[in-house]
């Protein structure tokens, strides 16, 4: 355990998370104060001070979210580096599975980023109005997100202190591969059906977003996200690795694949987030978010293009598919 904790990246990572958590805690305390005493119609000095306080909260959240966006790839990079110290791990996949906290931690991180982004969108709408209509909603929402942040911080510590360097872990080919037989695609899909779903859902996302069917576009985006994950791991990834049996979402983040994983997953996550954000802004807050939608669709299209490109290039180079 000690070697893990003393590795440079983990120290930097945990230190950063601690600093950010302290700031969030301050924001949390301020938010509690806001919830208790906010009254926009009153003209007291206290109320004016509370308005100033709300700026502190939004500044902290903005700053923290910005850094969490940077810390997520850094976390993944740290995990990848740790694979040198853990027997059996050749990439991040094995390290994540080193204990039962890894997967929940990673998923929680992504969810928190989504929710923080939503909060910031809500905040900018609130500011544009003249009477802070969403202040209470915003604050309760932040309380929720703070609870998640606390869980994340806890999981961070638990995860890193429970990685054993003596127990070998499975490599990605065992975790994701079909050699074990137990890790096939969900819902009994096979590759061709998966791909059809992939492209169909992509088209559906575009359709529902452009025609402003907000709720439908949220559903389509979420479904697309899930299918995209499986498509990348079980199909497109094999073209990045040029090996039909190499199934892994983490290996593509390494340098011999030119770090394309960061780009790929980044485009997908950001694109999905913006689509869902725009849809929520539209349905709940009645804000047409045209530029958000445009950017999100652009990002998702780039994602699909990138995936398909690897397949196309392979085909042109070799004349056959894998």
């Amino acid at each position: 355990m000690n070697e893990i904790l003393l590795s440079n990246e983990v120290i930097v990572y945990l230190l950063s998370e601690t600093v950010l958590y302290i700031l969030l805690f301050i924001a949390f305390l301020s938010t509690l104060g806001l919830l208790k005493r906010w009254n926009f119609d009153v003209f007291t000095t206290e109320q004016f001070a509370l308005e100033n306080r709300s700026y502190l909260v939004m500044t902290i959240i903005f700053f923290v979210m910005l850094l969490k966006v940077v810390l997520l790839p850094y976390f993944v990079y740290t995990i990848d580096n740790l694979s040198n110290l853990i027997p059996g791990a050749m990439c991040g996949a094995g390290v994540i599975k080193a204990n039962e906290y890894g997967n929940p931690l990673l998923s929680l991180k992504i969810i928190i980023l989504f929710l923080s982004g939503l909060w910031l969108s809500m905040n900018s709408i609130d500011l544009k109005a003249k009477s802070y209509p969403y202040l209470k909603l915003k604050s309760w929402f932040f309380v929720l997100i703070f609870l998640l942040f606390s869980a994340e911080f806890l999981l961070d510590i638990l995860y890193f202190t429970h990685i054993e360097t003596t127990n070998p872990v499975s490599c990605c080919s065992v975790i994701f591969g079909q050699t074990g037989g137990a890790n096939g695609l969900p819902f009994g899909l096979d590759i061709s059906k998966l791909l059809i779903l992939f492209y169909l859902l992509f088209a559906l996302v575009i359709l529902t977003t452009v025609s402003e069917m907000a709720v439908m576009s949220i559903i389509a985006s979420l479904l697309f996200g899930v299918i995209a994950y499986y498509s990348v791991v079980y199909f497109f990834g094999t073209y990045i690795y040029e090996l039909p049996t190499h199934l892994c979402p983490f290996c593509m983040l390494q340098d011999h694949y030119f770090y394309v994983g960061y780009l790929l997953w980044g485009l997908l996550l950001l694109g999905l987030f913006l689509t869902i954000d725009a849809a929520i802004m539209q349905s709940f807050f009645k804000q047409p978010a045209k530029s958000l939608k445009r950017i999100s669709l652009l990002l998702l299209s780039l994602f699909v293009l990138l995936c398909s490109a690897y397949v196309a290039v392979y085909y042109f180079k070799n004349g056959v598919f894998l």
Partner: protein, 392 residues
């Protein structure tokens, strides 16, 4: 949204108010410089060590008695050769020769120069080695540290080893090993294997240990089990364990420093917080003026954020560049001793430039996040200055 006006104004303010930020930049540069130097050194060392390790054999076996390594019988080589999946078996003779009056020692390594592989490796290490004349007399190759040490003790061309049977063996110092090898070969002496045998008093049927490769890594655990079955008194050392140990070593030493930096960083943050809160009254008036002419709290926060970002970036670049020069151009005087210190003989190593983005990213995050966090609350306090302040 046209941001060039904002950037224009930002640049104006930064230039005209340089004094405000000089202190922070100075401390930052020092901290980043130290931190980067430490990390550059440790990652360069690690890189070099792991590189040399790669070319080593996968396994080393030796004989033990009472838990200590003793001379290994040469006949073990035949038994090892019989195991399937083993390749490139090579017996080795080496040991530490202690220079009696003082406690320094040399690592004497015997090389079988009639073995094609070994002599090829040696020639690639010492590029212009004249093998023929080397073998014509009893000669050795010495590392830089050895050369310096022996010259200090008036041994200019020859050195006389004291052998276990009381006799002296005079060996010529043929050539010095190149300084790039200083990390591992500083206190090393390379000589023909027979000579090494004489110096350490090993019999013809004895060697120090036996190395071999196992190309198929799935077989590794299997082979270890077989070896233990073959010999009851064998010790097997795996290269993968050494690799892990090296990585841990440098993580440990680097990690130790990072923890020291944790303490520095906290102090740093407190100083920053203090400092930026202190500039309060003059800055407050100025911000009040901006607020009075129509700047919103958001605008002020944006200004403060960008101001700080510039300070952070400038300090970071300066600190890293200085560290790079210090470590890779000037070979880190003083600091390198912390890593290499305690070595057997005084060593002087040239560091191989190793630059990883991950490393730079770590340094940046380690510095930027506490910095920005420390400045955030003072910045907010100033940004919410009521514009009325301007009227006072």
């Amino acid at each position: 949204m046209n941001s060039n006006a904002f950037l224009h104004f930002l640049t104006l303010l930064l230039f005209k108010q340089k004094g405000k930020h000089i202190g922070a930049v100075l401390i930052s540069v020092i901290i980043i410089f130290l931190l980067s130097s430490v990390l550059f050194i440790s990652s360069s060392l690690q890189h070099t060590l792991l590189g040399t390790l790669e070319s080593q054999s996968d396994f080393t076996v030796s004989r033990v008695q009472a838990g200590k390594s003793i001379n290994t019988p040469l006949e073990w080589v035949d038994k090892v050769l019989e195991i399937n999946g083993i390749s490139k078996v090579a017996p080795r003779v080496y040991g530490r020769y202690f220079f009696a009056p003082r406690e320094e020692s040399f690592l004497v390594v015997g090389v079988d120069l009639f073995d094609e592989q070994s002599s090829k490796e040696l020639q690639s290490l010492v590029k212009d080695l004249d093998l023929k004349s080397f073998l014509s007399t009893e000669s050795m190759l010495v590392g830089e540290g050895v050369k310096t040490f022996l010259t200090e003790h008036y041994y200019k061309e020859y050195f006389s080893f004291k052998t276990p049977d009381g006799k002296f063996k005079k060996v010529k110092m043929f050539q010095t090993l190149p300084s790039q090898t200083n990390l591992i070969a500083n206190d090393m002496i390379i000589m023909p294997i027979e000579l090494a045998r004489e110096i350490f008093g090993l019999g013809e049927d004895e060697v120090t240990d036996i190395t071999f490769n196992v190309p198929n890594d799935a077989e590794w655990d299997n082979i270890i089990a077989k070896l233990h079955l073959l010999f009851y008194d064998v010790r097997v050392v795996e290269k993968r364990e050494i690799k892990k140990a090296y990585e841990n070593l440098y993580n440990y030493k680097g990690g130790l420093f990072l923890i020291l930096y944790l303490v520095t960083m906290i102090t740093f943050m407190l100083i920053l917080y203090q400092r930026y809160s202190m500039v309060y009254s003059t800055e407050r008036k100025e911000i009040g003026i901006l607020r009075a002419v129509g700047w919103s709290i958001k605008d002020i926060l944006k200004l403060k954020f960008y101001e700080t970002a510039v300070v952070v970036l400038v300090s970071f670049v300066l600190g890293v560049v200085l560290a790079y020069l210090y470590v890779f151009i000037w070979d880190a005087p003083l600091l390198s001793q912390i890593f290499l210190g305690g070595a057997n003989l005084p060593n002087h190593v040239e560091f191989v430039p190793v630059l990883e983005f991950g490393l730079l990213g770590s340094i940046f995050l380690f510095y930027a996040i506490p910095f920005l966090a420390a400045v955030l609350i003072p910045a907010w306090k100033i940004a919410v200055t009521p514009p009325k302040e301007a009227m006072l």
